[in-house]
C-alpha cells in the first residue's frame, strides 16, 4: 500500500491511521499496534515539518509492506535532507526540558530498525518492526 500526500498535519493523521490499520491487519498485538502507529506518525511529522517545511509544492509518501518476518514502512519527503547524527539527544540533561526534539528518539524506541537514506533531494526513513515468533507452550 502506498500513499502520496500533501505536506500537512491532516496527512500526518492519515498516515498514522493507515499505519494502525495496516499493523492490525498484519497481526501485531494490541500493545504493539499503537507503538507502530506512533513511530510512523513521528516519521510523517518529520517529513512534513523538517523535510518539506509544510511546502505546498512538496509531498510525502508512505509505503507499507509486510513479509514473513517484518512490517516495513517507508516515509519519504522532498526536503533538504536530514542528518540524523545532528539531532540532539533528548535524554541528555541539557536537553531534557526542551519543548521539541523527541520524535526520532520515539521512532527508535518503538521500532526494531530505523534506517535513514538521503534521496537528493529528500530523506527516506525506513521503519521495521519484526514479528515475534509464537512461543511453544511450556
Amino acid at each position: 500500500m502506498s500513499l502520496t500526500l500533501a505536506s500537512s498535519i491532516e496527512s500526518v493523521d492519515r498516515v498514522e491511521r493507515a499505519a494502525s490499520d495496516f499493523a492490525e491487519r498484519a497481526g501485531f498485538d494490541e500493545d504493539t499496534v499503537p507503538n507502530i502507529a506512533m513511530a510512523v506518525r513521528e516519521a510523517a511529522v518529520n517529513a512534513v515539518i523538517h523535510g518539506n517545511a509544510y511546502s505546498p509544492d512538496k509531498q510525502i509518501t508512505a509505503t507499507f509492506e509486510t513479509n514473513s518476518d517484518s512490517l516495513v514502512v517507508r516515509i519519504t519527503d522532498q526536503g533538504a535532507g536530514l542528518d540524523p547524527g545532528a539531532v540532539p539527544d533528548p535524554l541528555a540533561p541539557e536537553n531534557i526540558l526542551r519543548g521539541s526534539g523527541r520524535g526520532i528518539f520515539l521512532i527508535k524506541a518503538f521500532m526494531d530498525e530505523v534506517h535513514f537514506r538521503q534521496l537528493h533531494p529528500g530523506t527516506e526513513l525506513t521503519l521495521i518492526k519484526h514479528r515475534v515468533p509464537a512461543q511453544p507452550p511450556a
Binding site: P90, I96, R102, G103
Partner: protein, 114 residues
C-alpha cells in the same frame, strides 16, 4: 478527536481537565493557550488532569514540558494528575517521569501545593 479543556478551581488550585488527543497542531496549541490563560489570570498552582487523554505524541510531550517550564519561570508549579498507562510509559522512556510531580489522587495532588 481534538483536545478539550475544562477548568475548575479547588482550594486555590486550578485544575485543567483535558480530554482527547494532545498532538501536533490543534491539541498542542489548545494546551499551550490554556496554560497561558491560567497564568495570565494570576493562578500559579496548576494541576493537569490527563485521565481522559487518549493519545499524546512527541509534540504533546513537548507541550507538557513547555507548560511546566513556563509555569515554573512565572514562579508557579504545574503538576500532573491521573496519567494513563500510555502517557506514563512515554514519560518513563523520555526520562520525564521524574521531572514532573505526578499524582494519581486528586485530593493528594491538591494538598501537595500547600
Amino acid at each position: 478527536m481534538s483536545m478539550k479543556v475544562a477548568t475548575r478551581q479547588v482550594d486555590g488550585v486550578t485544575i485543567l481537565d483535558l480530554s482527547g488527543r494532545i498532538t501536533l497542531g490543534e491539541g498542542s496549541v489548545t494546551l499551550r493557550d490554556a496554560v497561558h490563560d491560567v497564568l495570565a489570570k494570576g493562578s500559579k498552582k496548576i494541576l493537569l488532569n490527563l485521565e481522559n487523554i487518549s493519545y499524546i505524541d512527541s509534540s504533546g510531550i513537548g507541550e507538557l514540558v513547555s507548560g511546566f517550564t513556563s509555569v515554573r519561570n512565572a514562579g508557579g508549579e504545574l503538576k500532573l494528575l491521573n496519567l494513563t498507562k500510555k502517557v506514563h510509559d512515554l514519560l518513563q522512556i523520555t526520562k520525564l517521569y521524574t521531572v514532573f510531580d505526578i499524582w494519581d489522587n486528586e485530593a493528594s495532588g491538591i494538598s501537595s501545593f500547600k
